[in-house]
Symmetry: C2
Subunit: 257 residues, 2 copies
Amino acid sequence: VAQDRLAEKRRCRSLGLATAPFDAEVSGFPRLVKTRFGGFDGRGQRWVHDHAELAEALAELPDPIVEGPVVFRRELALTVARGLDGAMRAFPLAETEHRHGILWRATAPARVTAEQVTEATAIGEALAESLDYVGVLAVELFDTADGLVVNELAPRVHNSGHWTIDGAVTSQFEQHVRAVCGLPLGDPSAIGVSVMVNAVGGEPTDAVLAIDGVHVHRYGKQSRPGRKVGHVTVNAPSLAGAEATAARVAELVQFRI
Amino acid sequence: VAQDRLAEKRRCRSLGLATAPFDAEVSGFPRLVKTRFGGFDGRGQRWVHDHAELAEALAELPDPIVEGPVVFRRELALTVARGLDGAMRAFPLAETEHRHGILWRATAPARVTAEQVTEATAIGEALAESLDYVGVLAVELFDTADGLVVNELAPRVHNSGHWTIDGAVTSQFEQHVRAVCGLPLGDPSAIGVSVMVNAVGGEPTDAVLAIDGVHVHRYGKQSRPGRKVGHVTVNAPSLAGAEATAARVAELVQFRI
């Protein structure tokens, strides 16, 4: 279901969850044309602004689905785990900021109300149960004036949850292993506030290592523009402290597309 | 130097650091007879209470050194790193509790005065500089009425610093790698309060995984009495919280000698 953007949207609707308008529901422009299968990091999708661009995109993108725009205040990401026994635990929500369709920063816990946490957790749990899912599931959400809208699912550990490695009692990776091994799910509580900054097109340099409060991750992958090759997580007791250090980090970390 | 308990003590004295009385300085009983090389976890050492026991121990333990007793209030452990460029950073002190000569629990940051932090850091830095040491160095200390007394050195990452994996911005392992690779040393600050509980003679079970706030480490080693085969680190915002969870953990974790 989560490999097919059409099946994904239909599943959400069947559970009463809001999604972007799609296919027959869409009128007017702009529209977003996406390939149903295999797109990521802004690849396999294209905004179109008139019928000519639409026709071109539909002809060029394989198995296209058309979405209408969603007006959002910001984007949020939920990471939820479901165990073999059906137990579920959600990590604190993260606020995600993208650049050119690629995740740039994630800040967690997000500045949200208790109602939004409840709403997001209910969405994630409904999806995980409906799919009889076991493991870590990421749900990308739009925070809109009418409530939370499901953007996309990632049935796996996900970049938006990497902050948990250094900023939560249990990392999303440990949580996934616990889930699929039938072990008790771990404590998803955040420790302080984390800001994760992605390194795109170039690994974090040694200069970043010299900043206090940072956790530097280099993936050892070959660098090329648009490719995520590392990330840096800043952890601090307060949001203000994390933001200040993250700003210094962001000046040193590449985002090259 | 740190492989030879005699050379170690002489080095400490040459730096003006206090150690247990040893060899010619010792009179009366009890005395502790230790082998100079290769002892650990209470092995290769024996308390003796009269001249007959002393003679027996001296005959049986290879390359013996004799120590007089040190009256201490508690034991502390310092983990300090020195980089290729000579820069040094010390982690917060840990309070260590032993059972039968084997580390049982470490609590960090220790409840110590600023003066004790300064004193301990000065000891660790003097030793690291004197040895032209690069990497992570552990220094076991006795907290006595007359100040800090050096017990033993461990020229490596050490069990007393395992709490840093889950309880400090930079773990002792990352710090060691940074040091030996000539990278900037990382932030040694503690995050909240950690209590590490060693698992001796039996790995931590799944029941421990069900407790919130724990980080479970299983070493995948064959279990036998007296062998450290894992540890559990509890991390919490307050000492009281960490202690409460650590008490639950300690009930479930084996210490079998």
